[in-house]
């Protein structure tokens, strides 16, 4: 549930708002509806990982990965035919880490401040 909520809310919000909106979204949703901290982290991580990877592919595939290959060279990734794919995965992991950490913090808040009755 948390996974789907973070993914969908971020998808909509990111069309209008800067990328860091994923931090408050993941935090708030996990604080409201998160389970364990570990689960929340992985929910947040995988939601944004999947969202960012899919969006990156959506942008890059019609571009025949032209730009991704150039940016991979700029970032000095080792030269290979799959540079664009590695860059896509880096993108997903980076976004995932931010959202995962924020969700973890949300879950910790829930447990620490709101979860006394459990």
């Amino acid at each position: 549930m948390l996974f789907i909520l973070i993914l969908f809310l971020s998808l909509i919000a990111q069309f209008f708002l800067p990328w860091w909106v994923i931090t408050p979204i993941a935090f708030a949703l996990a604080a409201w509806n998160g389970q364990s901290e570990k689960k929340s982290f992985w929910n947040g991580f995988s939601a944004i990982f999947i969202l960012w990877v899919c969006m990156a592919l959506f942008r890059s595939l019609p571009n025949e990965n032209l730009l991704a290959n150039r940016v991979a060279q700029m970032l000095m990734l080792p030269v290979s035919d799959f540079n664009w794919l590695i860059l896509t995965l880096i993108t997903g992991v980076l976004g995932g880490l931010v959202a995962g950490t924020a969700a973890l913090a949300g879950a910790a808040f829930k447990k620490g401040f709101f979860g006394r009755r459990r």
Partner: protein, 813 residues
């Protein structure tokens, strides 16, 4: 204690978010940059283009339609000048916004604002050279001309309309990498870019070397090795052309013209990097009976491409050609009736005047036997991530004192040719209305229109080539040429003596020019504008004559000329320089002293056909050999680290080799024995083979000229991955196809005039400045292969063409 963990994890999440949204050094804000919604992925353009777009914009006066062809070149149809230049600004910004922004910041000395303290030296340099001072003077002149003022403003409005339509996610990728935002455009930005052309093409100076050489070797050696007219030359205005004007008197040189120099000055040798060509042949020599005009201006090549192709159509004009991203109108192009092109004129329009200040406050300086007050210009440089820096520049009536004593940054290459304590007198500081020249050429109908247009042009001086459908061809080395005494500015000048100043200008209508010469063609390749019969002094040295001679040799022999034969000449790799010296080189080498490897290579270079084609190994050997030979001959006398000097010209070196083989200059004064020409030929040959072998192994295909030369087109900000691949291409500085490592033909154009003009062109890049676009470098391979695209010249808005891929309709809001 339960609260500790939530607070700690929240802190972690916020820190991570902040850190990835922040630019660290030269690393872009990573998550912001990689965000697939608004980050760089958004710049990845799809290969599909939407065929139609309607735009509703405030600021337009009527309807405008833009047809984009299959190279994404815009063809703009407007009903008035305002809308035409407005939409030119809009579409140029759509494709080149970052390039325009970055080049303007570079020109104005404002890079530190966006890239921080590491740009401070270059910013200070640009400001101390007076770039903004010159652009402001230009603005005053342009804005006093109502038509040009309106043109500049409409263009700026169009750019701003585009900028305002953008959200951060839409910014060009370089803004995202460097993490800054575009700012509104002003006509001053356009003026800065135009003045940058002078900085690129008319800012060379050898005065310090020359003064040092004069001091060390005296006037006789100076006259012998650095003569005021070359041994071999084919001036642009053919020898024997009559000067149909009564010249005004040139000033006389003062008795004590030449002053001593400060030996601590360190300079870099002026590189002979510019290799532009243009020519036009009369209808008498063509198959069609109408003139054909060709032009290839050479510059330091970059991506995004230097030029932007465009067609501009309204009631007043239908012009096609290349524009400078950031300036309205067409710079090189053609219309229904005429075509024109430009190459650089290497006239001397930059001089250095020694300034004697009264005291360390620099408030006054000595001039004409009295103290005169300086003006101060306070430059404030905003620095990203630091405090603003102010810099005071002192201006004499000559111009800015670029560096006061001990003010020059020690380790800054660009400033190395600037003497400390000297004021800069430079044509780029003058108010000028160069835009009017192009404005008039864009709508020119005939030769008289051309002559009129040229009178408005100031700098950088260009060889304006022109042809009309009425079968007139002409060329004019044109610009503001200061009236000087012979040799004025060959050396550093004393700024206190009024006789050393520029004495007005050569009257514009007395600039060298020729119309319809008997030989049936006109041409230029940066060589001397005219022979010594021209009554005024322009400079003592221009680029070598070799390309000009090759063009003239070929054109003299060519008849029944077609676009294709002209295209072959543009791509000609033959070297007149090699023709002049190769046999002397080869016959001077004692082959008995060569090793087997050296002899094998010697056979290759001996049989070389003198074409710098990509596959020629002989070209590689010869090129390195002549370089090392030149060094062998001159370095011992002119390579003093304490007194920086330069070598005599290639022309003088060739003369020495061919007709003064007993010259003392061949001797290496640093060795006890006495060397002659054959000794230096042998030594430099052996060194050549040694260096090629060290770098590429024993002789093989790796020695081919295309590999050794390593041509490529780098990104404007040298961002890795955004430049071109390495190209396997021929050409050399002394060939018509003067492509070196990354200096070469920035635009190749051929126009065949006729009832309907037919034109061809290509540049090394593409229309789009976006590295994520298929139109970023789609012309590069065509250019590299020496082919041309047929240019789509539309006559009317509803003319059907299968090359049109999309149409934009602009309406006023």
């Amino acid at each position: 204690m339960r609260a500790l963990k939530p607070i700690f994890t929240l802190f972690l999440a916020l820190s991570l978010t902040f850190a990835l949204n922040h630019k660290w050094g030269s690393i872009p804000p990573l998550a912001k940059f990689l965000d697939p919604f608004q980050g760089f992925w958004k710049n990845a353009e799809s290969s599909d283009t939407s065929p139609e777009l309607n735009l509703n914009l405030a600021g337009l006066q009527g309807e405008v339609s833009v047809q984009f062809d299959n190279q994404r070149i815009p063809h703009i149809f407007a009903s008035n000048n305002h809308d035409l230049y407005f939409v030119q600004g809009f579409v140029t910004a759509r494709d080149r916004l970052w390039q325009m922004d970055f080049q303007t910041r570079f020109a104005a000395g404002r890079l530190s604002e966006v890239i921080g303290p590491k740009a401070l030296d270059i910013d200070r340099f640009q400001r101390r050279m007076g770039m903004t001072f010159g652009a402001e003077n230009m603005m005053k002149t342009m804005m006093a001309d109502p038509e040009i003022a309106a043109m500049m403003s409409a263009y700026a409005e169009g750019i701003n309309a585009y900028i305002q339509s953008l959200k951060p996610g839409d910014y060009p990728i370089e803004f995202k990498i460097l993490d800054y935002e575009p700012e509104n455009w002003t006509p001053l930005n356009s003026a800065l870019l135009l003045k940058m052309m002078s900085a690129t093409l008319a800012s060379g100076s050898d005065e310090f070397y020359m003064s040092n050489i004069l001091k060390k070797y005296g006037a006789d050696v100076m006259k012998d090795l650095f003569p005021d007219y070359p041994y071999r030359e084919e001036p642009i205005i053919p020898v024997g052309t009559a000067w149909n004007f009564k010249p005004i008197p040139s000033p006389n040189a003062p008795a004590d013209a030449n002053i001593g120099t400060n030996a601590s000055i360190r300079t870099k040798q002026k590189e002979e990097g510019i290799g532009s060509n243009n020519w036009a042949v009369s209808g008498k020599k063509t198959v069609s009976g109408y003139p054909i005009l060709a032009n290839d201006p050479h510059l330091d090549l970059t991506l995004p491409a230097i030029w932007y192709q465009i067609q501009l159509i309204n009631q007043e004009q239908n012009v096609y050609g290349v524009s400078i991203p950031g300036a309205p109108g067409v710079i090189i192009g053609f219309n229904q009736k005429v075509a024109w092109g430009v190459t650089n004129v290497g006239s001397d329009v930059l001089d250095w005047y020694q300034v004697q200040f009264k005291d360390p406050s620099h408030q006054s300086y000595w001039y004409n036997n009295q103290w005169k007050a300086t003006k101060q210009r306070i430059e404030t440089i905003q620095v990203r991530g630091g405090e603003a820096i102010t810099d005071t520049v002192y201006y004499t009536h000559h111009g800015p004192v670029v560096y006061l004593q001990d003010q020059k940054p020690g380790n800054f290459a660009k400033a190395k040719n600037i003497p400390e304590g000297y004021a800069l007198r430079w044509i780029a500081h003058e108010g000028s209305n160069d835009v009017r020249t192009f404005y008039l050429l864009n709508k020119a109908n005939n030769y008289d229109d051309y002559r009129k247009a040229l009178t408005y042009y100031s700098a950088p001086a260009q060889n304006f080539l022109f042809a009309t459908v009425d079968n007139d061809i002409a060329i004019t080395p044109n610009g503001y040429f200061p009236l000087k005494w012979k040799g004025q500015g060959k050396f550093l000048l004393d700024g206190a003596n009024p006789a050393n100043e520029w004495q007005g200008r050569i009257p514009a209508d007395q600039n060298p020019t020729v119309k319809n010469p008997a030989r049936g063609f006109v041409s230029s390749a940066n060589q001397f504008s005219a022979d010594p019969s021209y009554p005024y002094y322009l400079h003592w040295e221009f680029s070598g004559y070799e390309r000009g001679k090759r063009i003239n040799d070929r054109l003299s022999k060519m008849n029944q000329i077609t676009v294709d034969s002209v295209r072959n000449l543009q791509n000609d790799n033959y070297s007149i320089f090699a023709e002049n010296v190769l046999s002397a080189f080869v016959s001077g080498v004692n082959t008995a002293k060569l090793t087997n490897e050296e002899r094998t290579a010697f056979n290759v270079v001996s049989k070389w056909n003198k074409f710098y084609d990509a596959k020629e190994i002989g070209a590689s050997i010869f090129e390195i050999w002549q370089k090392l030979l030149t060094k062998q001959i001159w370095e011992d006398e002119f390579g003093d680290a304490n007194t920086p000097m330069r070598y005599p010209s290639r022309d003088r070196t060739v003369q020495l080799i061919l007709s003064e083989s007993q010259s003392k200059w061949f001797d290496n004064i640093k060795t006890p024995q006495k060397e002659g020409l054959n000794d230096v030929l042998l030594t430099s040959y052996k060194l050549t083979i040694d260096s090629l072998t060290k770098k590429y192994g024993p002789m093989s295909d790796k020695w081919q000229w295309g590999h050794v030369k390593h041509s490529n087109v780098p990104h404007l900000a040298k961002i890795a991955g955004f430049g071109s691949k390495t190209l396997f291409n021929g050409g050399s500085k002394t060939s018509v196809n003067a492509l070196s490592e990354s200096n070469g033909p920035s635009w190749r154009m051929i126009v065949a005039l006729g009832k309907e003009p037919k034109a061809y062109g290509v540049f090394p890049g593409g229309q789009s400045g976006n590295p994520g676009s298929f139109y970023y470098d789609d012309m590069l391979d065509i250019w590299a292969e020496g082919r041309l695209n047929e240019l789509l010249y539309l006559r009317s808005n509803d003319q059907p063409s299968e090359r049109i891929i999309s149409t934009w309709k602009f309406t006023k809001k």
